[in-house]
């Protein structure tokens, strides 16, 4: 039970959490926002490549048990047809929003994605999840005190009626993306072709990084066929297309690049994001 003062203190804390431009008020009127700022707000938050940052101390980290268990639960949900990895990547890395993306531990976001998919696909009710969380809290009231962290399911469900995707059957013995081989139209580009990355409007999700949009590169490899991430992430039917590894000269890609004239960066891009360079 919290006191009124504790509740007020928590609200004060949340108020100090900033994830917006400081020069703008909250919920600005349309005339206050230009295209650049709207694009910035709508940018999928996982796309951090090229954002300026200062050097920091790089460290390793020992795994928390819950982090390991979170990784495992995510993989089991993929294995058992509850989600595609592309759904997980969107829910944990983008849908969480800027404040949680930058504020929470890496596996904290994975775990929230698990809760999100199970609730959104109607496998678990949010009320029963909250109740179960309260129950687990109660089980460990007063701390661990020698108890181990363990799940204590009350039963084992029959799972035959659980709604699942067909990915395991489709990919069995082949893998992903091999399961999409032969389904795309003829590849439009070949190795060595110069291409420009289109500047398609982006809302909600993409895996084509902002830092290459509008830039000219060269096809380094014709990679594989797969549905575009923007479609696969909603697990909707979409015709696979060719993906390409595209290389960019970094001195041309980055304004004021500080390396040599030959340095290159390669990244993978689906065909619908590319057009032939003139």
């Amino acid at each position: 039970m919290s006191t009124a003062a504790e509740r007020a203190a928590q609200l004060d804390l949340v108020t100090r959490l900033k994830s917006s431009f400081p020069e703008l008020p909250n919920a600005p009127t349309p005339d206050m926002l230009d295209h650049e700022r709207i694009t910035a707000y709508l940018k999928p938050v996982h796309d951090v490549g090229g954002e300026p940052d200062a050097p920091m101390k790089y460290e390793n980290k020992q795994y928390e048990l819950w982090e390991h268990m979170t990784y495992v639960i995510c993989e089991v949900l993929g294995w058992r047809g509850i989600w595609l990895s592309e759904e997980r990547r969107r829910m944990g890395n983008v849908d969480v929003g800027r404040a949680e993306y930058l504020g929470l531990p890496y596996y904290g976001r994975w775990l929230l994605a698990v809760a999100r998919i199970l609730v959104e696909k109607h496998h678990i009710g949010l009320t029963e999840l909250s109740e179960r969380m309260a129950e687990v809290q109660e089980r460990y009231a007063g701390g661990l005190e020698g108890k181990t962290l363990e799940a204590q399911p009350k039963s084992e469900g029959d799972g035959s009626q659980v709604k699942r995707n067909n990915h395991a059957e489709e990919a069995d013995g082949k893998g992903d993306p091999q399961c999409y081989a032969g389904q795309a139209a003829t590849a439009k580009f070949k190795v060595g072709d110069p291409v420009v990355v289109r500047e398609l409007p982006v809302i909600f999700y993409t895996r084509t990084p902002e830092y290459v949009r509008g830039a000219t590169g060269e096809i380094e490899a014709v990679a594989y066929e797969s549905p575009a991430a923007e479609d696969e992430t909603w697990d909707r039917p979409a015709r696979p297309e060719w993906f390409y590894i595209v290389k960019f000269n970094m001195s041309e890609l980055w304004y004021g690049y500080t390396g040599t004239a030959n340095d290159i960066i390669s990244t993978e891009i689906p065909e619908h994001w590319l057009q032939a360079a003139k």
Partner: protein
């Protein structure tokens, strides 16, 4: 302990609240979700156990063996570069394990980037943390930081210098941003002073950092550049 130290401890007992080993918010959520999934048959306890066992045994050792074998055997190097998933089987890694279609998060499109005297490769996933988990284990914490992901794609030479890797201008840096379904690892060049070494000796100097591309293998260097490790509150068996 001296009498003086003993008194000092007692002073603290009066002012500091007793330590309670609290269960954390994420631990509560993870346990609640796992229990409900098993109760509803979304997955079985047995399936969860199998995946846990798989996840606990992955690590960088097979990747180091793969590169050492390639250094020793030009035919195997050819295979490793042309059919990396076939070559992986030689070091005990089947990319279709443990589900029959791979680990869902890692996909089954693997490529090895071979360094040359004029090109140095380094990997990053600027969008999340794509990494060749089945053969290289879990990625290190720093690899997943927004900091490494923001900067490596734009200031690679500066970031590599922070790992103690200074590259001359004659060497081209090739950054591979693995952002979709491909997974990459680096095959560095065999260093001097290792001429008569066995595979096991070579494996010793093929650290995880060398296979990411933030370090180069050197005779005598058997540890990663980054060794500082933050301890977990309630550690598990992975990592």
């Amino acid at each position: 302990m001296t009498e003086h130290d003993h008194d000092h401890d007692h002073d603290h007992d009066r002012t500091v609240a007793p330590m309670v080993d609290e269960i954390t918010d994420f631990e509560v959520l993870e346990i609640a979700l796992r229990e409900l999934c098993i109760e509803k048959g979304i997955f079985s306890a047995e399936e969860h156990r199998l995946m846990t066992e798989f996840a606990e045994q992955i690590g960088p050792t097979p990747a180091a063996h793969l590169v050492a074998k390639a250094w020793l055997d030009p035919k195997f190097k050819e295979l490793a570069l042309a059919e990396p998933m076939t070559a992986s089987k030689e070091v005990g890694v089947d990319w279709l394990h443990p589900t029959g279609w791979g680990t869902p998060s890692d996909f089954t499109a693997f490529q090895i980037l071979a360094d040359t005297p004029t090109v140095h490769n380094v990997i990053v996933c600027a969008l999340c943390s794509c990494y060749p988990r089945p053969i290289l284990g879990n990625s290190p914490e720093w690899y997943r930081t927004p900091n490494y992901r923001r900067r490596l794609v734009r200031w690679p030479r500066q970031v590599l210098a922070e790992f103690g890797l200074y590259l001359s201008d004659e060497i081209t840096v090739h950054v591979q941003d693995s952002n979709q379904k491909h997974r990459f690892m680096v095959m560095p060049m065999r260093p001097e002073g290792t001429d008569d070494w066995t595979e096991d000796q070579l494996v010793e100097i093929l650290t995880r950092d060398c296979l990411i591309g933030v370090a180069l293998p050197k005779a005598g260097v058997t540890t990663n550049m980054i060794t500082d490790t933050r301890p977990a509150i309630h550690p598990g068996n992975a990592g």
